[in-house]
Amino acid sequence: MNEEHLAEAKSLLTAFPGKSSALIPILHLVEDEFGYIPQEEVEVVAGLMGVTAAYVEAVLSFYTLFHRQPTGKYLIQVCRGLSCHLNAADHLAHFLYEELGVQRGGTTDDGLFTVEEVECLALCKDAPVVQVNLAYRPRASEEQLKGLIEESRRGVAQHA
């Protein structure tokens, strides 16, 4: 973890009535920083928490927002909840796979995009729903996603 995150992680250790509660917030810091939870960080977190690495792995592998493999700069999560399913979410997902040339759960070669299909995102009234880096894109459409992809690519290109 970078120094800022490490300092935050340390402060989290005493932020709850029980130290054990700090684990998931600390794992969020790691996921935010790396886009996944590298094994070395599992050891770091285990050390901070005073638990075994196996314990950390047990917890993180239970939750879908923690990844064991690197994810792209943009994590695109297509909701496949029943309401979104009824609103053709499958087509959106397949559009993304074709547009980006990846498979389900895969990351583009340039490391920009990861596409996942996820369970209900609790915005059923605005189906179909997509989250990009956990920000909602309600009533998502192919055009909208296409725009988003192009924009992201441009943004990254400009930044570089």
């Binding site: 094994q39 599992v42 638990v51 075994t52 690495a53 196996a54 314990y55 950390v56 792995e57 047990a58 592998s61 239970f62």
Partner: protein, 723 residues
């Protein structure tokens, strides 16, 4: 008592009893998978669902306590269908590779399938594929496909050991049991997970493919490797011990063993053994028959002689040995305390292992728990978690493997004295606590005296146990294998021998590496005119001996070991004896000219040492004189592995590599870094650095090859940064 009805039968049980156990008391079997009597129930597998009147749903018998007037049915259609459902679910993902599974024949899935399963599985989907035959650690093999996720192994490691080395990974139908990436499962308690696994998911690597359970003979035994005296069961085939399992005991080890005990039978069959007596004739050591060897021993052990060891043999043999030394040889020079120990019996009232559950305050003095008496850690952890107060007083930190109050002091005896005289808040607690238990590693005369003072200050509910020493140190001390009033202790005998003042020496079931000062041993052996060695394995000691007397290992003979409570515990002969080895008691009975069988020996021991066989608590006196004193700046730690017999081919894989650990300042002064290799001729040891050690000190554990050299070399430079 609570009255209830199960399947029409009236049952009376203690309040709080689970339906499952109430049914068992009534002779009604309810099937289970996740339930284990020594683990907290979880209700996960759903195999034990039963019908309870007025309850809308079936309830798990393993988590539901009885209530007055409850009406339980275990045989209704919906209950039977539920069993069938769980079996169908579990078998749907199970590989059904029973023919090549070690658990076949003692598998709870098989047993329950036969009794509660349907004739045919309805499962018509593809089976999952997971890790098979994976080496989890040196002793444990994992097959994830066979796992039924009963969580027993995980609960054991988490709740009993406090070391979640084994955890669940992923979730739902993808859930598997595994270690952390890149780690191995090398807990000293790992073997228990194999024994409690209801299927063949966790199997024993040493026992793999060795036998079918129906071909095994089971014999009750007691673990010889530390003073806990865990109850165990030998699995034998054609007279060979193929494996050891724990035997449940409320008083001692519950359902657990440490891996030292579980795998400590390798030396019996797997390596070279002493199988016949040897006698030196004209400088050459050669085979002899027993009468010749006995004769040579009698002749050789005359004049000013001594005997060392005897904490690894049966109480019966200890008793006879002591009598022979006194009545036959006429010497007071005897000491079982070859590995560092002052007393195996504490002064005052001796505690019982189950005091751990009840004591309000537990003081642990210099107790290196996992190296002295590992299984006690499980029981102690339960007490601590139940809110009992555990205070460790020791020279170094990190001695107890669980949360506790830690008092680090260079003078443990003094700290204890202050405390028992009511000093400080802890002293107040000590004086007013309901029940106090003192655990002591048995080293240091001053600590022994302070314990005596503790008894004087609190004459009532105060108990102590020595958790240090070997498997039968208590027996050895009770039988009198300690120097008499004018006798020499271990060091005294070795020094006398080294100065040519001893005519003969008998070593009983000792290894060179038991001696903390191997240089002194070498000097002693080079001068002593007559050396007799009784034991199990050939070694560089037997090579130097004038008479070698081969003994039966504990699995090959009947006898008793006396554990730290002073409880004589019987073990039974099971394995066939190799060559011409004798039971240990037979040798010393013979030397006493008794033509006794085991029954006679036992009768005599029971008559002369009745305390050890009584149900009452025992009482100890002041420590015998003498005993090992560490050189300044040196800590000689215990080793659970060297308490037993080594080398052992089976245990070799889990014996940690030799280490010499230094306090950071000491390491700096000697310019040693972590990982440096010390050449101790003939041994080598890796350097470790630990802030847990007191400033200026160095530590290694019993069993280190060339330990004497290390003393010389490192103690010599202790001055500048030491005391």
């Amino acid at each position: 008592m609570i009255s209830l009805t199960i399947d029409g039968r009236e049952v009376q049980v203690e309040p709080g009893t689970l339906i499952l156990n109430a049914a068992r008391q009534a002779g009604i079997e309810i099937p289970v998978f996740c339930y284990h009597p020594r683990l907290a129930p979880v209700g996960a597998c759903r195999m034990c669902l039963v019908r309870v009147d007025k309850m809308p749903k079936l309830v798990p018998a393993c988590t539901t306590p009885v209530a007055e007037g409850m009406v339980v049915r275990t045989d209704t259609d919906d209950v039977l269908q539920s069993h069938e459902g769980v079996m169908d679910f579990l078998l749907s993902t199970h590989p059904l590779d029973c023919p090549i599974c070690d658990a076949g024949g003692e598998c709870e899935l098989q047993d329950n399938a036969m009794r509660y399963g349907a004739n045919q599985s309805r499962f018509a989907e593809p089976k999952r594929h997971l890790k098979k035959a994976t080496e989890l650690g040196p002793m444990v093999e994992l097959d994830q496909e066979r796992c039924i996720l009963c969580l027993r192994c995980i609960r054991f490691m988490r709740e009993e050991v406090g070391d979640p080395a084994l955890t669940l990974h992923e979730r739902g139908n993808d859930t598997v049991v595994d270690v952390a990436e890149g780690r191995t499962f090398d807990s000293i308690f790992a073997g228990n997970t194999i024994q409690i696994c209801p299927v063949g998911a966790l199997t024993s690597r040493p026992y793999r493919f060795k036998a079918r359970p129906w071909d095994l003979d089971m014999v009750d035994s007691i673990c010889p490797h530390c003073p806990v005296g865990c109850h165990m069961s030998l699995s034998l085939r054609h007279g060979d011990v193929l494996r050891i399992q724990s035997r449940d005991s409320d008083d001692v080890n519950w359902a657990w063993l440490c891996d030292r005990g579980r795998y400590g039978h390798g030396f019996v069959h797997q390596g070279p053994r002493l199988t016949r007596p040897l006698v030196r004739r004209g400088g050459q050591l050669g085979p002899a028959d027993w009468p010749e060897a006995i004769d040579a021993l009698r002749k050789g052990l005359a004049g000013t002689v001594g005997a060392l060891g005897g904490a690894r043999i049966s109480l019966e043999a200890q008793y006879l040995l002591r009598r022979w030394l006194r009545e036959g040889v006429g010497t007071d020079h005897v000491d079982h305390r070859v590995q560092p120990l002052t007393a195996a019996i504490p002064p005052g009232q001796v505690g019982r292992i189950d005091d751990i559950d009840q004591a309000d305050l537990i003081l642990a003095l210099e107790v290196d728990l996992l190296q002295e008496a590992p299984v006690l850690a499980i029981r102690l952890r339960h007490s601590v978690e139940a809110g009992k107060r555990l205070v460790g007083i020791s020279r170094r930190k990190g001695m107890l493997d669980m949360p506790h109050e830690e008092i680090e002091t260079p003078d443990v005896a003094r700290a204890l004295l202050e405390l028992v005289r009511g000093g400080g808040a802890l002293g107040e607690t000590f004086l007013h606590a309901g029940k106090v238990l003192i655990l002591w590693n048995g080293r240091g005369r001053e600590i022994g005296e302070a314990i005596a003072e503790a008894h004087r200050r609190r004459p009532g509910d105060t108990y102590a146990m020595v958790v240090g020493g070997l498997g039968n140190s208590y027996g050895a001390e009770a039988a009198g294998l300690v120097p008499g009033p004018s006798g020499l202790d271990t060091r005294g005998m070795l020094e006398a021998a080294a100065q040519g003042e001893l005519d003969g020496l008998l070593l009983v079931a000792q290894d060179r590496r038991d001696f903390p000062d191997q240089e002194l041993l070498r000097a002693a052996l080079s001068r002593v005119p007559f050396l007799a060695v009784a034991g199990f394995l050939p070694s560089d000691l037997t090579v130097e001996a004038d008479v070698v007397l081969p003994l039966a290992a504990w699995v090959e003979a009947d006898g008793h070991f006396v554990n730290m409570e002073g409880r004589a515990q019987r073990y039974f002969a099971g394995a066939s004896r190799p060559g011409e080895v004798w039971e240990d008691w037979r040798l010393f009975a013979h030397l006493l000219d008794y033509d006794w069988d085991y029954g006679h020996v036992l009768e005599a021991v029971r008559r002369d040492l009745p305390d050890l066989f009584a149900a009452d608590r025992r009482t100890g006196g002041p420590p015998p004189h003498g005993g090992y004193v560490e050189p300044p700046g040196v800590i000689v730690g215990a080793s659970i592995f060297h308490k037993g017999v080594l080398p052992d081919p089976l245990v070799q894989a889990i014996v940690p590599p030799p280490r010499v650990v230094l306090a950071p300042d000491r390491a700096e002064a000697l310019d040693l870094r972590e990982g440096h290799i010390l050449d101790l001729e003939p041994g080598k040891a890796e350097v470790g650095i630990s802030p847990d050690l007191p400033a200026g000190s160095v530590m290694w554990r019993i069993g280190l090859e060339g330990a004497g050299k290390a003393v010389d070399r490192l103690a010599a430079v202790a001055g500048p940064c030491g005391r």
